[in-house]
Point group: C2
Chain length 478, copies 2
Amino acid sequence: MAEKKMVEAITSRDEDFAQWYTDIVKKADLIDYSSVKGCMIIRPYGYAIWENMQKILDKMFKDTGHENVYMPMFISESLLNKEKDHVKGFAPEVAWVTHGGSEKLPERLCVRPTSETLFCEHYSNIVHSHRDLPKLYNQWCSVVRWEKTTRPFLRSREFLWQEGHTVHATPDEAIDETERMLNIYADFCEKSLNMPVIKGKKTESDKFAGAEATYAIEALMHDGKALQAGTSHYFGNGFAKAFDITYTSKENKLEYVYETSWGVSTRLIGAVIMSHGDDNGLVLPPAIAPVQVVIIPVNQHKDGVLEKAREIADRLKDKYRVKIDDSDNSPGWKFSEYEMKGVPLRLEVGPKDIENDQCVIVRRDNREKTFVKLDELEKNVEALLKAFADNIYNMAYDNMQRRTYNCTSMEEITRKLSESGDGFVHAMWCGDEACEDKVKEVTGVGSRCIPFEQKEISDKCVCCGKPAKHMVCWGKAY
Amino acid sequence: MAEKKMVEAITSRDEDFAQWYTDIVKKADLIDYSSVKGCMIIRPYGYAIWENMQKILDKMFKDTGHENVYMPMFISESLLNKEKDHVKGFAPEVAWVTHGGSEKLPERLCVRPTSETLFCEHYSNIVHSHRDLPKLYNQWCSVVRWEKTTRPFLRSREFLWQEGHTVHATPDEAIDETERMLNIYADFCEKSLNMPVIKGKKTESDKFAGAEATYAIEALMHDGKALQAGTSHYFGNGFAKAFDITYTSKENKLEYVYETSWGVSTRLIGAVIMSHGDDNGLVLPPAIAPVQVVIIPVNQHKDGVLEKAREIADRLKDKYRVKIDDSDNSPGWKFSEYEMKGVPLRLEVGPKDIENDQCVIVRRDNREKTFVKLDELEKNVEALLKAFADNIYNMAYDNMQRRTYNCTSMEEITRKLSESGDGFVHAMWCGDEACEDKVKEVTGVGSRCIPFEQKEISDKCVCCGKPAKHMVCWGKAY
């Protein structure tokens, strides 16, 4: 059989980050474009990454008492209209269904952009007594937001996500839940995606439509732009009042419930690409890599080579996701292919290795080569994957540290960004929306969040000089 | 705390099967209705059943080489129109999106009723050489069909399903795949849902829109009505021609590909309810039951009872899905509740049992009580679950046997159905669509499938008396 054509080089990351990103999503076979503008096809390799994320998150949700449900994908216009702030935020970007078959619908339906209104309607049917509380729900589904400009994984008209929705008897319980889920997201990003994040609260102007408070985790991409990786919202009893969701308390009083919602999406795949990828392609965190170890038999037609490769695969396959590539493609082609796909470890075994009772393992992150005695195989694979995960976390962390600037004036912000490139700006803020807007207008960075971990960089607002209330983390956002 | 109200009795199954079904889906907390007509909310207990089905099927698909992908939910009108038979079948029942936000779309989009057209468009982008074949894909998603009359799980405007889509170099390979997946569905129904099915081919008039052949599995519900539980379609190269999907063969010739698709849906939950349920509620096959063993501590406030219940749960929980109900509800309430929810085994343990180093296990299917010595707990649970699964399969099988009638004339069909109730009618057919229609018109039963296992009941068509080509399985369908 003719060999497949060599993996084509991709655009250099430092030359054109946006084009580099687009090259990777296509050449690592993550997505294909559909003829419907702004919608993407998630191909097997991309979907397997999402499935691995789902498995880990789903277990974290269930371990903390959440149950999965499924709500309809359609929301009637009157239902969407019930909570005023919510509809104001979402109506401009929903897709409207007007006909079923050839018949015009009596009321148009939108395809869910998010499901608060559906959950609220359901709560009002099933919550009656304090004994019915709390309800801790989650749903895995796709949602639609009619975006003008789209990019695979980062912003598309349809995307896959999970949306948690919970309902509680008291504000304290609901606030605890909001924080708990933000912490779960942060843990997931740090431990499973090897991506450091900043936890904080959104400013008033940047809250979710209908929320009393929005918490977020923000990550810094390799190019210095910020990416909102997950959000967790506290609704107070605003939705409860709009949807009349009440319960009878232990004291036999009728009370409104308190709600939360929280979500992460396939956007996290974009975050992983832009945190860890390099000029050879993807670099995937072991916890979510569809293949953790690819085994390449060298001189595979020589006696015993394929057998040894299979024996090694058998030893590893219960604990790791392993693939043998025994195709007729050249070793050079295979090396490029699995580098493009970001497989953490490449294990090579050929006649010489077999003679020496060893194999060669090459790390994707730094191309470090280790000769491994076969009787120490499992121990070495474990240690190398651990070192790999630590190293990509540390590189992303170093990037974030190097690109975080403490600034005390607008001029300093502008100078820092132009001298050292995009990044997180830490600067004080008086709490006035006008100052928030002005910082963005003048320096180009918007408020990402008010980090939970505050530093007192100065006591004055970076914009107006009045007494500062918070340190804000500012950045250019994806 | 006040006790929850007793589980209300449901309508008797023999009195009003339809009402009995509706009572169960609500009272076993499987679904709630949404204000959007024909759409349902799948509640945690219902969704957990679906998740268990998904886990088993997904493994069966992956073990046979299939990969999961995700296609967009929108299909443009021009894409849907490409294959003429397909659009004829689906256009009357699709939901149309006409606006994004406040803007009218340049072309309307339908919400996928099924995704053949999307897969075809994708194949035409990614299939070029014989080396790219086969592609064996599956997707888990929801689809929309604008049905006039709807019933939870059985027929709803939106439902959850999986749709497999594969593309092959030759007709033989594609036909093998179509049959292989039908067999996987049949195995799943028999082993995991404990529900016998008939495998067969649909007649021409009953094929999927655009298919060359449709295979199906048909199950007989307790009331004698037939339910199509899964289908597998062979498309030949019809879609390939409409979408211009070609590949270069080993002989360097341009050839069309051959395709299949296959699917099962949340309808299977309806099938399980109507196969095994009784007047006390659901009866769930152990393989998919969210809780396989519910542990009820009796006199739980007595010393050591709760501790013993927890010790038992700990011993079982690695192998089985176990729940302890230590709420303050009375044992009577708990017994009814878990009968309604179809939990296969109820394990009771109280002070007397502890004295005798035993517990009591009650089977949901026949209420048989077994005193089990605690040192033989695991062995007994395993045996009881096995006996339970076998018994509900055998009951469903007996129902199907008892309700299968071999008939050689239209009069016999009518008489049998009126004497013995609805069921499967086995009768010969000449292959003429006019006879198929007439049988339905006169006797009320339509062709369900041409079973793979043929019997020669006579050599003449049951309708026209001309030479028979096939034995057909006829029935009234859900």
